[in-house]
C-alpha cells in the first residue's frame, strides 16, 4: 500500500537536504575562488598543467570529454562562479519562492559543476565533497522524475548513505589499535592541519579524557544507524548529538564544509525515521 502524504514530506526532506548541502557547496566554491591564485593558477598547487590533467582526461569516456574544456583555468573560474551563484540561489529559495522547474534546473547545474569539480581536483577534496555529490545526484534524479514515490526512495537513499558513512567510520575506528588505545583524537588535534594544538595537548595530558573522547566517537558512529530503532523520541537525541559532533569538528578541526554536507543528510534521515516508525506501527509497507 502506498501512503500519499509521505510523498510531500519526502519532497520537503530532499529539498531541504539539497538546500543545506548547497550552503557547503557555495562556501567551498567561494573558498576556492578566494585562493584561486595559490591553488588553481598555472603556478598553483593544484594547477591544471601541474596535475597533468589535460593528458589524463583524454582517457575518459567520450561522453565526458566535452567537460574537459571547462577545466582550463579561466573556464574553471567561470564554473566556480556559476556553481556559487546557483548554490546561493538554491539556499535563498528557502525564503524566496522559486518555481519547481527553476529549482530542478539549478540542482542539475550544480550537479554538473560538482562532476567537473571532482575531475578537476583529484587532490584536496574530502568526504564532504562525496556527500555533496550523493545528495545532489539524488536530488537531481528525484526532481527530474518528479514523482512522489521517487521522492520517498530518494530520501530513504540519502538517509541510508548517511547511516552507512557513520557506521563505516565507526567500525574502521573500532578495528584500529590507535583508536582503541585512546590516543587518536589527541594526536589529530595536536596538528595544525586538523586540530588546535592547545586542545590536543590538553587532551594528551588527560589520558582518561582522551580515551573517553575516542570511545565516544567510536560508539556514536557505530550506533548512529540504529538510532531509528530506538523507542519513543530517543532518536532525536542521537541526531542532536550528531549535529553537535559536526559543529565541534568545524570549530576544532576546521572541517567547515563537513558540517553542511553531513547536516544535509539529516532531513532525509528524520523523514526515514518517521516513515519507519509509521510503517512499523501500522503494519504498512510502501
Amino acid at each position: 500500500m502506498y501512503i500519499p502524504q509521505f510523498g510531500a514530506q519526502a519532497d520537503l526532506a530532499v529539498l531541504w537536504a539539497v538546500r543545506i548541502c548547497c550552503v557547503g557547496v557555495a562556501l567551498g566554491s567561494l573558498e576556492l575562488l578566494y585562493r584561486q591564485r595559490n591553488l588553481l593558477s598555472n603556478t598553483g598547487l593544484m594547477s591544471w598543467v601541474g596535475l597533468s590533467l589535460p593528458r589524463k582526461l583524454e582517457d575518459l569516456p567520450t561522453v565526458v570529454r566535452p567537460l574537459i574544456k571547462l577545466m582550463a583555468p579561466q573556464a574553471f573560474y567561470c564554473v566556480l562562479l556559476v556553481r556559487l551563484g546557483a548554490a546561493s540561489l538554491l539556499v535563498v529559495s528557502a525564503i524566496i519562492l522559486l518555481s519547481r522547474s527553476t529549482i530542478t534546473f539549478l540542482v542539475v547545474v550544480i550537479l554538473l559543476s560538482t562532476f567537473i569539480h571532482h575531475l578537476r581536483l583529484p587532490i584536496g577534496t574530502d568526504g564532504s565533497d562525496h556527500m555533496n555529490a550523493i545528495v545532489l545526484t539524488t536530488g537531481a534524479v528525484v526532481l527530474l522524475v518528479n514523482d512522489p514515490k521517487i521522492y520517498v526512495l530518494g530520501a530513504v537513499f540519502i538517509a541510508l548513505q548517511l547511516s552507512l558513512s557513520y557506521a563505516v567510520a565507526g567500525v574502521a575506528k573500532a578495528l584500529s589499535v590507535e583508536w582503541r588505545s585512546g590516543r587518536s583524537t589527541s594526536c589529530i588535534l595536536c596538528t595544525w592541519t586538523y586540530g588546535l594544538p592547545p586542545v590536543g595537548e590538553f587532551l594528551r595530558s588527560h589520558p582518561q579524557l582522551s580515551r573517553s573522547v575516542d570511545w565516544f566517537v567510536i560508539a556514536f558512529e557505530v550506533s548512529f544507524p540504529f538510532a531509528m530503532f530506538l523507542p519513543g523520541r530517543a532518536w532525536i537525541a542521537v541526531l542532536i548529538t550528531g549535529l553537535i559532533f559536526h559543529l565541534f569538528n568545524a570549530l576544532i578541526m576546521g572541517l567547515n564544509t563537513f558540517l553542511w554536507a553531513f547536516a544535509s543528510g539529516y532531513p532525509p534521515l528524520v523523514f526515514a525515521v518517521f516513515l519507519f516508525k509509521y510503517c512499523r506501527g501500522h503494519g504498512v509497507h510502501l
Partner: protein, 169 residues
Amino acid sequence: MLWLCACLFAAWFGLSVANQFETPFTYRLRKLDIFGLISVWKFFAPRPGIHDHYILIQDCDSTGQLLEWKQLLGPSVRRPQSFVWNPGKWESKAIADLLQLVAQANSFGRLDNRTLMLTSPYLVILHFVLGQPCGPEVVARRFALVQKTGRFGKVELSMASDFHPLLSR
C-alpha cells in the same frame, strides 16, 4: 520509472557498501567512479592523520652556493572564524594528499630518487615548486617534504629531491 529508480538506488547503495572493503573488484570500481559518487567513509581510520606536512625549498645560485632552506608551504594557521570560513584547508589537504601519494609510490616499489621523479605526485610538487618566485641569482631549486607530529613533536624528512634547473634562467 519507479522500478528503474529503485534499482538505481539499490545498486548504488550496494556498490557503496562493497566499496568499503579492499578487494580487486573495488579497485576497479574506484577507477570507474570518475565523478566520486561511491565514497570510502573511513574518516581518520584505521590510521589517524597525526602529522602536519610541509614543503621546504632550497635554492642554488649561479656560483654553486646553496641558500638557506625555507618553508614554502605548511598547514594554514587556524583563526577563530575558521569554523565558518577556512580557505587554507584546501592547501593543507592537497599537501597531505600529495605526500601520501609520494609515500605510496615510494613504499610500494622502493623507488630511488630518479624513478620517483617520474611519478605524478612528484611532478605536481615539482611544477608547483619551480613556479614560485625566486631571486635573479637562483639557477636551480630542490624541495623536501617534511612531516611533523604535533607542535613540539619530532620532525621527519619524507623525501628530498635533487636539484632541478629553473628553465627560465
